[in-house]
Amino acid sequence: MLEIRGLDAFYGDFQALFGVDLSLQPGQTLALIGANGAGKSSFLHAICGMTQARGSVRLGDTDLAALPAVGRAAAGVALSPEGRRMFLSLSVRENLLMGANVRRRGPWTLDRVTGLFPILGEFADRPAGLLSGGQQQMVAIGRALMANPALLLLDEVSLGLAPVVAQEVHAALAMLRDQSEMITIMVEQDVNRAIAAGDRFLCLLEGRAALTGPCAGADLDAIGRAYFGEDDT
Amino acid sequence: MRPGILLAVAVVALVLLPFGADRGMLFLASEILVVVALSQAWNLLAGYGGLLSPGHHGFVGIGGYALYVLTRDLPVHPYMAIPLAGIVTAVLGFLLAPILFRLREVYFAVGMWVAAEIFRIVVMRWDYTGGAAGLPLAAARSLNREWMGASAYWLALAVALGATALVWALMRSNFGLRLRALKDDELAARSIGVAPHRVRLAVFVLSVALTGMAGAVSFLSALFITPVAAFDINWMVTIVFVTIIGGIGRISGPFLGAALYFVLRETLAFSSSWYLVALGATAVLVMLVMPGGLAGALDRLLSRKSTMETQP
């Protein structure tokens, strides 16, 4: 399970996250929501070791906070970053293989990823930079899956994608759910879609946890208020 | 004492130095001032302009040769030929700019270095410039022997202080503002109406003009010039060393760097290679532990002291 206590994140002197707590069971998906600049990406970066952080982050028996980014990757944290960040001089296949670089055991192989996203098999030898935004998103997700992660972090899953393509990506992600013990944290702009895709949700507001709870039967009005930081009164 | 008064006292002392110094000391002082001027000129281009030139030794040589050729072929007094040497290098720089300014970063650097090499080879092969054998200073007769060392010193002082004053004034002007904006973020600078090409061209031409003048001053008292000495890559080594150690992009950098450079050179004079090892190691150390150089370290020290004073 994932156990986060009092997580702060910093970019230089700027503090982006203030004491966030979170606890997820194996197999659960968290929908991480919040306005622009609320700290969603900072939260993911603090977990995977891309930014300075303080607080406790435990994944299973591993104390992630004590590890550098490289060590967290080996411990099973994988990120599909905002903006996709393809390795531009690598082909699609090579990008996917970079995910397998940590050599963790598990079900995900090149074949399974191209089974999930058939287009990637077709374009395996193309430079990743030549793909469309949606295809690059699939590469980014597939690349993260190739690590056989215990904790999958998906940043801005459908940002900048055409609605049809976003639907396709989410359909693939839905297939992942309930299939494994993998914990997933998903950042998604579209709150309705996020709630539909998650088991639990966490709404951030200005770097603090504003509201959290199960997705099933979530009160959308309350989420809306937490999202925009309006008083309950 | 106020810094202004301190500065004035220092300048007066420097001007009066020839009346209290022997020949050897004066010669060393002139050499130091030439290095300060050269480093100030290079710092203007690299530290403020962000253009790294490994080819400034070419302009040192051109400045020196301009002095020798102008005083040979024209009725110009050698002292008057020094600003003229600056004009010659400025014109040459201006003519080269269309080629070099198509290039950025490493390409610009390689282009500059190659230009300097071409200068050297052309001067070496050209009878007009005396070929590989070099040229004597034809106008040496018109120089007063007794005051020669002192005059060379004053010229070096004038060029060094002139270069410093120029950089100081430039950085306080609107032009300096544009230059800094350009170095920090070219795209942003363009968007507020800075014309990168013109700003860089102006800085480049000024820098090579100062370099040419310093080169001319440096070869004045030698009474003889050869391509090997004039276009020596060690000019470049000295300039870069002094600027790094002093603090790149800081106006006091060349002074502090030159001071340390000459202290090291004079104390380790028993072995030319050990002193260069020490210089190189110092440069490495500076880049590792204090990238702002001596000037940066001094700034930090002074600001820490002043914050301690203001805190009760």
Binding site: V102 | A109, G111, W113, V114, I121, R125, G280, A283, V286
Partner: protein, 288 residues
């Protein structure tokens, strides 16, 4: 006939130049820094070879791998101990740092070995010739050229078609991201610098078999290496081979026609290339 010979010696000299450029281009491509100490790495390779043969008379086939491995270690150590500490957005600190390293290296070589000219005696290879009677070519220059092409091929395969190469290219593309894939970028940089130093050293040994060198010979080799990568173009290692061959041919032909010209026509070639094809003969267009 004489032109065949000129062509041949231009190509073999060009192969050596290409090898000077290869390591520099590798560093520039992966780390986006200009290694000013590259010329000294070439010369250090030559002097390491002198030191080895002074101590014990090892044959050439053993000398080359010894020097290569030794200089790999030197490059690796330099990168992890020094250069890695100043890598960042600003290209100036690594450049100035390697400038300092070059001055130290040059003068340490003077202190240890003296400033005299030295060369490596290739033994029977010096006079061995091969080929048809009507056009015998020196075995040594031919071997140098073949070795160069083989090294380019090996590096091409290594970078383009191995796991290591994939990691190097990914690190070059996005050094901040590769940590998430378990890649220690500083280690990648150190290995790349080691490879660059090894290639430079190999070039240095070949140079010392061809002509004499002094500890001060590095500066000119650095300039040639820069010219090679600018003439050839950045972005592909084959561009360095092309740049080296072009520069070698120009130097040999101009020496034949105008013996006192030195490197002049090579410099002019560079300026012409910069004017008409700034991305180099085989480089990708860089938009900046």
């Amino acid at each position: 006939m004489i032109w065949f010979e000129t062509l041949f010696s231009g190509l073999t000299l060009g192969g050596l130049y290409a090898l000077f450029g290869l390591g520099l281009s590798l560093i520039f491509g992966v780390m986006k820094i200009a290694n000013i100490a590259h010329g000294e790495l070439v010369i250090a390779g030559a002097f390491l070879a002198f030191a080895v043969v002074d101590l014990l008379p090892v044959p050439l086939w053993l000398l080359l791998p010894l020097v290569t491995m030794g200089m790999f270690a030197v490059g690796y150590a330099l990168q992890s101990a020094l250069v890695n500490r100043v890598l960042g957005d600003d290209p100036l600190p690594p450049l100035l740092l390697t400038f300092g390293i070059s001055i130290v290296a040059q003068n340490l070589l003077v202190e240890i070995f003296g400033a005299d000219n030295r060369a490596l005696d290739p033994g029977w290879l010096a006079t061995a010739r091969i080929g048809p009677v009507w056009f015998p070519v020196g075995l040594l220059p031919l071997g140098t050229l073949i070795l160069t092409v083989v090294l380019f091929g090996v590096l091409h395969l290594g970078i383009g078609h191995t796991r290591w190469g994939r990691i190097v290219r990914a690190t070059s593309d996005d050094p901040a991201l590769v940590g998430l894939f378990g890649v220690k970028r500083r280690r990648v940089f150190a290995v790349v610098m080691g490879v660059s130093a090894a290639l430079a050293a190999l070039a240095g040994v070949l140079l010392a078999m061809r002509s004499s060198v002094t500890p001060f010979s590095g500066v000119e080799r650095l300039l040639i290496a820069f010219e090679v990568i600018v003439i050839g173009g950045l972005g592909s290692i084959w561009a360095s081979l092309l740049g080296g061959l072009a520069l070698g041919l120009v130097h040999v032909i101009s020496f034949r026609l105008d013996p006192a010209s030195g490197l002049l026509y090579g410099h002019i070639l560079l300026l012409v290339i910069l004017l008409i094809r700034p991305e180099g003969l085989a480089g990708r267009k860089v938009t900046r």
